[in-house]
């Protein structure tokens, strides 16, 4: 409520974060795992004097730079852009707690870039030991970046934040070493190793012609992938154990998440089986078709996992700190007394300008003045309340979890009650951040967009028009 709300029709603005973050994750994990792969393998190839393998690794390093340094870096910046636009309050909170964590990450980014370019552009121009060192510098810096960002994303899922603690009490280290930190570092490190191997299989399956070299690449990159698979399993179990109770219930309760969890499990198992049977046991399977399919399965596993991870966080953006509708949990009770429209500077200014009759002599928006507004104005303000309190997750009439679709067939009383106490109907909904009168405005607006139930459903004829079975006539 502190900031203006960005309305993106049909999609809702937070979905842009999900879109960019998912794309970024597919590349950023490769940036970490691929760096480790290149460092280990270049060292191995230099020790053995394996010119063919080195030539392949150079080719792969170029592919790696084009994917990670360009696309990975820009989509990473893209996440910054979108969270600031679609989730400004949560971004403000995170940045005030973790600014020096991000600043440290920036230093490691610079080291990564320098090492990556030195590694590639000084190929064959420095001693093998120095060349391998560049690879390791990149790999370690990239992994530390992963560790630093995981401390922040882990805090969002389970802050370990104590009920009643004041915002000023949240210290950097307490927040960083949250209950999700170690499990997520393990899982993400594993995911990086696994995904990097998939990129390697994909790349090698298309560009490597020599069967011997293909076999070597398949065998050698399958090992870190298997290690990655183990880390994902261990980290995944730790992730689940350290979820807040409400997240576990959410995962079990929401039908869409049930499907995604099943999908995640199935795709992950398929990836493990393909990894074992393919590159590890039968490197000759490394055809372009297999390489592409394997990578796509990896993408499916990662994106599904990210979706589940994000969804489990509702009704929070930052666990126990920021609610999904841009409200500080600590400020919620005050807003329920003071009012949503009065609490936000933009909503208050809007009411003062557009509905001056709704404000008192001191310029305050009061329940009593709202109650006296004509029906048309009440519906207009209900739309404003919807934007501020609900549009994070709900489109209006068409699109993502559209409100009009949700209320089809609901009687007015139910609409009013859900608007007032959404958390009682779904525990992953945030409480309504306004007064009773504002909830009524929202409900009236919801009723105004409620469509009639679809007319093309038939449940048998109306009981009164059906002839009673023979022998049962009155």
């Amino acid at each position: 409520m502190h900031y203006p709300w960005w309305y993106v029709p049909h999609l809702t603005s937070p979905m842009l974060i999900a879109f960019i973050a998912t794309i970024h994750v597919l590349v950023s994990h490769y940036a970490v795992g691929g760096g480790l792969f290149l460092a280990v393998e270049v060292g191995h190839a230099h020790r053995r004097g394996d010119r063919d393998y080195l030539a392949y690794l150079k080719q792969h390093a170029w592919f790696f730079i084009l994917i990670t340094v360009v696309f990975g870096a820009i989509t990473g910046v893209g996440i910054w852009w979108t969270i600031g636009l679609a989730s400004p309050l949560a971004t403000e909170v995170l940045i005030r707690i973790f600014v020096f964590g991000w600043a440290m990450e920036y230093v490691f980014f610079l080291i990564e870039i320098a090492a990556a370019f030195l590694f590639f552009y000084y190929w064959d121009r420095v001693r093998p030991g120095t060349h391998t060192l560049f690879g390791w510098v990149y790999a370690i810096a990239a992994w530390i970046s992963l560790v630093l960002i995981t401390g922040i994303t882990g805090f969002m899922l389970n802050s370990g934040y104590l009920r009643g603690a004041q915002p000023a009490d949240i210290g950097f280290w307490q927040a960083f070493f949250n209950p999700q930190f170690i499990p997520q570092v393990l899982a993400r490190t594993g995911g990086s190793l696994l995904l990097a191997s998939m990129y390697v299989f994909f790349h090698a399956s298309i560009w490597v012609k020599s069967p011997e070299l293909k076999e070597k690449i398949g065998k050698r990159s399958a090992r870190p992938a298997l290690l990655g698979a183990i880390l994902i399993l261990v980290g995944g179990v730790g992730w689940f154990i350290n979820l807040p109770e409400y997240s576990i219930i959410t995962l079990q309760k929401a039908p869409a998440l049930n499907i995604f969890m099943a999908l995640l499990f199935a795709v992950t198992v398929a990836v493990f089986v393909m990894l074992y049977l393919g590159p590890y046991r039968n490197p000759a399977w490394m055809t372009p078709g297999f390489g592409i399919l394997f990578l796509l399965f990896g993408f499916a596993a990662v994106t599904t996992g990210e979706f589940v991870r994000e969804a489990a966080r509702k009704p929070f953006i930052v666990h126990n700190v920021v609610l999904s509708n841009q409200v500080l949990a600590a400020e919620l009770p005050q807003m329920q007394v003071r009012g949503l429209l009065e609490s936000g500077p933009w909503s208050r200014a809007l009411v003062q300008a557009r509905h001056p009759e709704a404000v008192d002599d001191r310029g305050k928006v009061l329940d009593s003045t709202l109650a006296a507004l004509p029906a048309e104005d009440r519906i207009a303000l209900g739309a404003v309340v919807f934007q501020q309190a609900c549009n994070d997750c709900h489109a209006i009439e068409q699109g993502l979890s559209a409100m009009s679709h949700l209320v089809i067939g609901w009687p007015d009383e139910r609409v009013h009650d859900v608007a007032r106490r959404p958390e009682r109907y779904q525990h992953f909904m945030p409480p309504f951040p306004g007064t009773d009168e504002e909830a009524r405005l929202l409900a009236e607006w919801m009723i105004s967009i409620r469509p009639d139930p679809p007319g093309d459903m038939w449940f048998g004829d109306e009981p009164r028009t059906v002839a009673a079975p023979a022998g049962e006539e009155e």
Binding site: W81, I95, R96, V107, Q388
Partner: protein
């Protein structure tokens, strides 16, 4: 909505304290911006100038152009990543104006990401055309370069718009009224018609031309030591001419920006005591670089290269400081960073500072080691 007092749109101070005192945050914002502005200047004006020289220049001009365009993927990588720190500290210190301003113009602000992806891949497409000792770009590679140059220039315009929107709180109610939907912001606000945006954008372009000129000297004297004496002689002469063009451009557009778009109150502050020395030094600082180029005649040497590039960094830093002071003055009626509570995060801050210094030193060590080993191996 036109009747809304802009002050009413500013959020109250955050419940979450600043992790360091405002002076520290603003200091790092300025340092970060300075570090970002050097490669940014090369992206902003350098690609364009290099492509012009590639098309219409003589032998040495084409040689420089080839060198510059080959370096561009690395310059862009550092330019983008060095942009993280100023953005980070801007968001910490100025969240109350940065977020509303960028949300008002969200659609073009987010478009930067898409433009940047195309621009960066365009740079690679172009630079790949110069691999393996090739000196001339083919038509398609050249086209990729032109597209990238235009995209970077467009991105510069959007940045100028966003920074102007951030400081121009008075315009928010009108932008909001023009683009709102049920009180929400549609992100369609556009302020490209604001002379301050255009003047600022062009002024930064002038500064960027001067940075390109300084880079030519740095490249010839430091990175291009294997180039011929004639080339390094040409480099100095060309850099001087280009620097003069940049300085004239900077002076003209800077004057427009200062005397044509600043409010009398801001101008009064910036040209009154105690700020007038800063304003004048900022305006006149390009003369320092020019003087260095004049007093060090002949082919560019390593020492000339180092002195000139450092002097240009000072010019950029002075602009960053003045820019910060002006921004603080413009925002003062609406918000002050010093209004926020502060709770120092001492240990993370110290770790960051140590890492920052050690990291820069370590990168220097890696580069030096690579260069010296490469020389040894080639000599052997």
């Amino acid at each position: 909505m036109e009747t809304i007092n802009p002050q009413d749109l500013i959020a109250t101070t955050s419940a979450f304290p600043l992790p360091a005192a405002p002076w520290f945050l603003l200091l790092f914002k300025v340092i970060g911006f300075t570090l970002h502005a050097v490669p940014m200047g090369l992206m902003f004006a350098g690609i364009l100038i290099a492509l012009l020289m590639h098309t219409a220049g003589g032998e040495h001009a084409r040689r420089w152009s080839t060198r510059m365009l080959r370096q561009m993927p690395i310059i862009v990588a550092f330019g983008i990543n060095l942009g993280i720190v100023p953005l980070l500290f801007t968001q910490v210190a100025y969240s109350r104006v940065f977020y509303p301003a960028t949300i008002l113009m969200a659609n073009q602000w987010i478009m930067i990401i898409a433009l940047l992806i195309f621009a960066y891949y365009g740079v690679y497409l172009m630079a790949i055309g110069l691999k393996g000792g090739r000196e001339r770009l083919t038509g398609k590679r050249m086209l990729a370069g032109w597209v990238s140059a235009l995209l970077f220039i467009s991105i510069g315009l959007i940045f100028a718009s966003a920074m102007r929107m951030m400081a121009d709180v008075g315009s928010w109610p009108q932008h909001w009224a023009n683009t709102e939907f049920a009180g929400a912001v549609t992100g369609m606000a556009v302020n490209h018609g604001d002379p301050a945006v255009i003047a600022r954008w062009l002024m930064v372009f002038g500064l960027s031309i001067m940075t390109v000129a300084a880079w030519i000297v740095f490249d010839a004297g430091f990175l291009g030591q294997r180039e011929s004496e004639q080339y390094r002689l040409w480099a100095r002469g060309f850099a001087m001419r280009l620097f003069v063009i940049g300085a004239v451009w900077f002076a003209a557009t800077g004057s427009w920006y200062t005397f044509g778009t600043w409010s009398p109150a801001i101008r009064g502050e910036m040209f009154g005591f105690p700020l007038i020395p800063l304003t004048l030094v900022t305006a006149l600082s390009p003369a320092l670089v020019f003087a260095l180029l004049v007093i060090r005649p002949g082919a560019v040497t390593k020492s000339t290269a180092m002195i000139v590039i450092h002097a240009q960094v000072v010019v950029v830093a002075l602009n960053a400081v003045s820019r910060q002071v002006k921004q603080s003055l413009e925002l003062a009626p609406f918000m002050r960073v010093s209004d926020e509570a502060v709770k120092w995060q001492v240990s993370p801050l110290l770790i960051f500072l140590v890492l920052f210094v050690a990291g820069v030193g370590f990168i220097g060590y890696l580069v030096k080691r690579a260069a010296s080993e490469a020389r040894e191996i080639e000599a052997a």
